[in-house]
């Protein structure tokens, strides 16, 4: 092929938009590395050539990877090999590879500034590639001589017959493919086909931008959010709630950035109020914080997948949670408004009771509080309040962050019988949980405690307003729950009304 005109092409770039060969060689020679994810020699070649990308560019040479793979696969291999140059993805039936007459991968082709093919090397051939790159640059280029210095490659996908290519394009197990792409939270997902995503969008504008998702600042287009909702297992009817939850979580006041990367365990609790709870079958009754209800589990999971995938907060990578908690898979609850003697959360926050509203709260894992013995509201409020004493850290008083109480029906009934409002419950909890400063001066304690008189009375919260009271749970059993705080984030509670029409 030496001295012949290199076939012109335009292929999708994994970083957005198409790129043409003419653009790659606009400023000088281009070196095209054709490869495929299944070929170990391709991966080896790209990993070893990756560090040369920047110096080659400084010498006016563009080093580009051209994959016989879908864009997501190409992007993943480029990422894992550290390759930062242009990365193109060629769909089946691989017309570009065929035009270049490829038989094996990797194949490295030097296209000179006149568009002529000036050199070609097949497989990994350190000496040969060094010659090719030196020729491209006009100055000496060092290619590593780490073993193996020569390695044959694999058959190019374009070299197969049409029937085999069709199998290559769709022959992998879909669910395993999702894991291979990294489109998962560790559990199997529903593959986000274009048809499923379109159904999830329900006519909404796929390009509408909800914001940038921290920490990697991935842009949350409605289409990507819908892809996450499909992956999570949502029904299309759930999508308005997912959209509102993502909008709420992206409000800067929520500080999702801090929550996404912290070593704390915190997740994002999604509370749903209003009529849409019934339309979607959201559970605020028996087992509301546990398994069993698709709407609860998948709506919470969709938000988490947006953070994890679009936002790049993969556990163990940018998500640095030391332990995390199971709610980071998905953490969504409906409030039992009909069974509650109190105004629901969204009404407390200024929304009309007949509106459907999503509220997000930065929250630790649930702690169950059993109390089958209290006979009066003061006694029960004290028991519930003292469950918070050890949250965050036993001597960290006051918390200075939100505690969420999920009050079960039997506990609610006791308060209701005494005519206690939500506000009174909160104030009684706040007043009950006090200790003298001197008992709190060890281990992880607050500057407030250290500065206080030893006999000063310290409360667990800064004010009763830091206590959120929700109504949920099954009718039998006196078990309420406490969801601990997320500290140091200044993470405000944020609500958004659900907009059901497209």
């Amino acid at each position: 092929m030496d001295g012949t005109t290199a076939p012109e092409f335009t292929l999708p770039s994994v970083r957005g938009g198409p790129i043409a060969l003419a653009e790659l060689r606009a400023g000088g020679p281009a070196v095209l590395v054709f490869l495929a994810e299944e070929c170990p020699t391709s991966t080896l070649a790209l990993r070893r050539l990756a560090p040369l990308s920047a110096p080659l560019r400084e010498a006016g040479v563009v080093l580009a990877a051209v994959f016989e793979d879908p864009p997501e696969i190409a992007a993943r291999v480029a990422r894992t090999t550290g390759f930062a140059g242009p990365t193109l993805a060629e769909p089946a039936p691989y017309d570009v590879s065929r035009a270049y007459g490829l038989q094996a991968l990797p194949t490295t082709v030097l296209v000179d500034r006149d568009g002529e093919e000036a050199d070609r090397r097949v497989g990994w051939d350190a000496a040969g590639l060094q010659e090719l790159l030196t020729r491209a640059c006009g100055t000496a280029v060092e290619v590593t001589r780490e073993a193996p210095v020569v390695k044959p490659g694999c058959a190019a996908k374009c070299s197969y017959d049409a029937a085999t290519i069709a199998l290559l394009d769709g022959g992998t197990d879909e669910l395993e493919d999702m894991f291979a792409r990294g489109w998962t939270d560790g559990l199997p997902v529903v593959p986000p086909t274009r048809e499923r995503v379109a159904a999830m969008l329900g006519g909404r504008d796929p390009a509408r931008v909800l914001g940038e998702v921290p920490p990697a600042r991935g842009v949350a287009t409605l289409e990507r959010v819908a892809a996450c909702a499909v992956l999570a297992g949502c029904r299309p009817a759930y999508f308005p709630v997912v959209e509102a939850a993502v909008e709420a979580a992206l409000d800067p006041a929520f500080n999702l950035n801090g929550q996404a990367v912290t070593t704390q365990p915190s997740g994002q609790l999604v509370v749903v109020n209003g009529p849409i709870r019934h339309a979607l079958g959201l559970n605020g009754g028996i087992g509301a914080l546990g398994p069993g209800t698709r709407a609860n589990l998948t709506i919470g999971r969709a938000l988490r997948l947006v953070v994890t995938l679009t936002g790049g907060a993969a556990p163990g990578r940018m998500d640095r949670a030391t332990l995390g908690h199971p709610g980071k898979l998905g953490f969504c609850i409906a409030e039992d408004e009909e069974g509650s003697p109190w105004e629901p959360l969204h009404s407390e926050r200024g929304f009309a009771p007949d509106r459907s509203v999503v509220t997000v709260i930065a929250s630790d894992a649930p702690l169950s509080i059993s109390d089958h013995r209290s006979t009066g509201p003061e006694e029960l409020a004290s028991i519930l309040g003292w469950a918070a004493a050890a949250t965050w850290s036993p001597n960290w008083w006051p918390l200075g962050a939100t505690s969420v109480y999920v009050i079960c029906p039997e506990h609610r009934a006791l308060f209701a019988a005494a005519g206690w409002s939500k506000r009174r419950v909160r104030e009684a909890m706040f007043a009950a949980v006090t200790r003298p400063a001197r008992e709190l001066r060890s281990g992880e304690t607050t500057p407030f405690v250290l500065a206080a008189d030893p006999d000063a009375t310290i409360t667990k919260w800064t004010s009763p307003e830091e206590i959120v009271v929700l109504a949920a749970g099954g009718e039998a059993g006196r078990y309420s729950a406490l969801l601990g705080p997320c500290l140091g984030m200044e993470a405000a509670i944020v609500s958004r009304e659900v907009v059901e029409s497209a």
Partner: protein, 90 residues
């Protein structure tokens, strides 16, 4: 199969690191305190060591450790310093 990716690949591309190996002697190093507990003590020690190597130092601080630095702070650091040390502490 044709799927819709949940990733924003423009934010996931590998980014080359800035060139290493600049001499410290005569360099201006910005020490960024993220305002975590005792982070200032860590930076005090680093500052002393940098002075021993002939570097000038400047101190900057984020408003809160859990939020990204404000763009104006990033611009100021980029304009005033040759190198930056950001200390994560607890």
């Amino acid at each position: 199969m044709d799927y819709v990716s949940p990733f924003d690949e423009t934010r996931r591309a590998a980014q080359p690191l800035a060139a290493r190996g600049r001499a410290l002697d005569g360099a201006t190093v910005v020490l960024l305190d993220i305002t975590k507990r005792r982070g200032d003590q860590f930076l005090d020690r680093i500052e002393a060591r940098l002075h021993e190597h002939g570097a000038d130092t400047l101190r900057e601080a984020k408003e809160i450790f859990s939020k990204p630095a404000e763009p104006e702070l990033i611009r100021r650091i980029a304009n005033r310093g040759d190198l930056t040390v950001e200390g994560l502490a607890d």
